[in-house]
Symmetry: C2
Subunit: 359 residues, 2 copies
């Protein structure tokens, strides 16, 4: 162990000296050394009984992640990034948990509509509610984005923020996935949980940046992912403050403040985080701009190491297989752009030893 440490310090000195002799040389050298050190890092960790990303197959995907983290955490290296700047952003649907046959939050919205229907007899005869209440997804689809927004507003607003959180929490507790029979919060990806922990152990600050509703996510993100409410960014509705019988209360209003999807994701990052991430993970074209924003090209004068990955759903047996033509979680433009931008495409079937945590 002592020897290894001494050798590492030797590399650091070489790197520091190289940095003095020109950025380009230093960068090349740093990459070479990072990859050389990788094997010893993994070997050392495993010798010490600490598995690194144990649910990831040994191979290029895992190696690329570990090499990146090595680069930015090695003090004295030209690739070192101070902890305050180690911002990592993760999409949720399809990246941290499953999203088929449809986003879980939509299932919540439909169940909640059914609960609220007795107070709204007019819904029986009015679209999109009529289709929604009988579970006619094709009929609902025919009402388009406008219909979907009406469902969202009717099921998600007109209550206090505390009432909404209680309803969502109860639903997550009581409901089961129609195909797997699991609780939705059990359909999270074990390899990604390990990745969150691995980054945090290396002083990254991890945020969720999701097209899903910020309040829906906050109900479970801390317990399930270890991500506190203040590190959750998502699609946001307006709210207003009022004193209700003297009690300071926030009411949810039927107006969108931020659609945190596609080009809205960098805007959400800017609003909530105020720094450009150095690590981003997504799985669909909804994440394209977040990944672009994170991996600003080198020719923009930026020399910070940056990393992005796409979870590619290739495992019809253990989860789902879909990409370019999927109605939910379509991965097309981002998949095309991945090679030229250097994004890691994680092949769920090949790269993950398991999908969900043990029950």
């Amino acid at each position: 162990m002592a020897l290894t440490v001494r050798v590492d310090r030797g590399y650091t000195r070489v790197l520091a000296r190289a940095a003095g002799q020109g950025q380009a040389l230093a960068r090349v050298l740093a990459s070479v050394l990072a990859y050389c050190l990788l094997a010893s890092t993994l070997a050392r960790a495993e010798a010490a009984g600490v598995a690194v990303l144990p649910s990831w197959q040994a191979g290029p995907a895992r190696d690329a992640i570990v090499a990146f983290v090595e680069q930015v955490t090695r003090e004295g290296a030209s690739t070192y990034v101070a902890p305050a700047e180690r911002i990592a952003t993760f999409d949720n649907d399809g990246t941290l948990w499953s999203e088929q046959p449809v986003y879980f939050q939509l299932l919540f919205a439909l169940d909640r509509l059914r609960d609220l229907a007795p107070q709204h007899p007019e819904w029986k005869d009015t679209e999109p509610f009529k289709s929604a209440l009988v579970g006619d997804l094709d009929g609902l689809k025919a009402t388009g984005m406008e219909g979907l927004m009406q469902i969202l507003m009717a099921s998600h607003t007109g209550v206090t923020t505390d009432e909404f959180a209680a309803a969502a929490g109860q639903w997550l507790k009581d409901s089961r996935h129609p195909q797997t029979g699991k609780a939705y919060t059990e359909m999270i990806y074990q390899p990604m949980l390990e990745l969150l922990d691995y980054l945090r152990a290396n002083d990254f600050k991890v945020f969720i940046v999701s097209g899903g509703g910020i309040d829906f996510l906050r109900v479970f993100a801390e317990a399930v992912y270890g991500v506190p409410p203040e590190q959750v960014v998502g699609t946001t509705l307006e709210a207003h403050f009022e004193l209700r019988d003297g009690i300071p209360t926030l009411m949810r209003d039927p107006k969108v403040s931020l659609v945190d999807d596609k080009a809205g994701k960098p805007v959400g990052i800017y609003r909530h985080i105020g720094r450009r991430p150095i690590f981003a993970a997504g799985n669909s074209d909804g994440d394209l701009q977040m990944l672009q924003y994170t991996t600003i090209p080198r020719d923009a004068g930026d020399t910070t190491p940056r990393f992005a990955l796409l979870v590619h759903h290739t495992d019809a047996e253990r989860e789902y297989a879909y990409d370019r033509k999927s109605a939910v979680g379509k991965l097309d433009a981002a998949l095309d752009e991945a090679p030229s931008r250097g994004w890691l495409v994680v092949d769920m079937k090949k790269d993950w030893r398991r999908i969900y945590p043990d029950a």
Copy 2:
């Protein structure tokens, strides 16, 4: 030292047992014990050479703060609050730094307008720009809130977020206060810096929640207050994402997304933090709703200890003296409400041993 620790543990056991015998008794007992322990805490800290809030005068204001922190951090006590829930929110203008004769950000806006004027010859003859450019504050005032918004938009938008941050950073570096000759970032309150540190040392997560612009604040909040960008909430403008020559960029748009003042402060807290704070500090009626939201009344069924304070500007000699009739930082309704809600009113002249840090 060993003895003191044993005594503390004894108190903890008493508290735990009392909690089992009824909430009301436990709460009374906890308050009494917290105050009894306070003296020993301060004595111990000072004996160990660690001054607690050294720029605060010894007395009721400092004692109240220390007693609250003792309450929520004492493990096993019924008043204990888990670190994740220890959210503290601070206003900025008039609470962390000075705000007279006018909010410093407005001075930045006016200086920036002058820099941009050559590209806008029409401003010479159009209000509110005409008044703004010649420094006619009365003329500017006559254009009302609408005029002020035009100044804000013209000086704060139409650039990338990086360009804006660079301009604000340069201004903060170059500019001096018209009355003190100090840099604006030197006009911060030493007692409040110590309070931020004291809370953080006790595992509070500290946020700024300001009516000022979120991006302006983020330029200096980390260096000056130790508050990272992701813990700054402020008035927010819209922005949009675009690829500029292939470089992922955010452009600032002339539309307000959130006015983080008055009833907007609880909304900003809800959007960015997603939890109700247990500690809030302000100095004006702009903070009234934040303080109400933080100190939810006990009869709402909430038993968490909660604390709020108002900085009362009473020191015309060392800083400024103003409250109910001030055009900037008016403190009127909140001052009236303080006694019944149990908010601490900090008397700057009596409670602070000094105002600004040593140069």
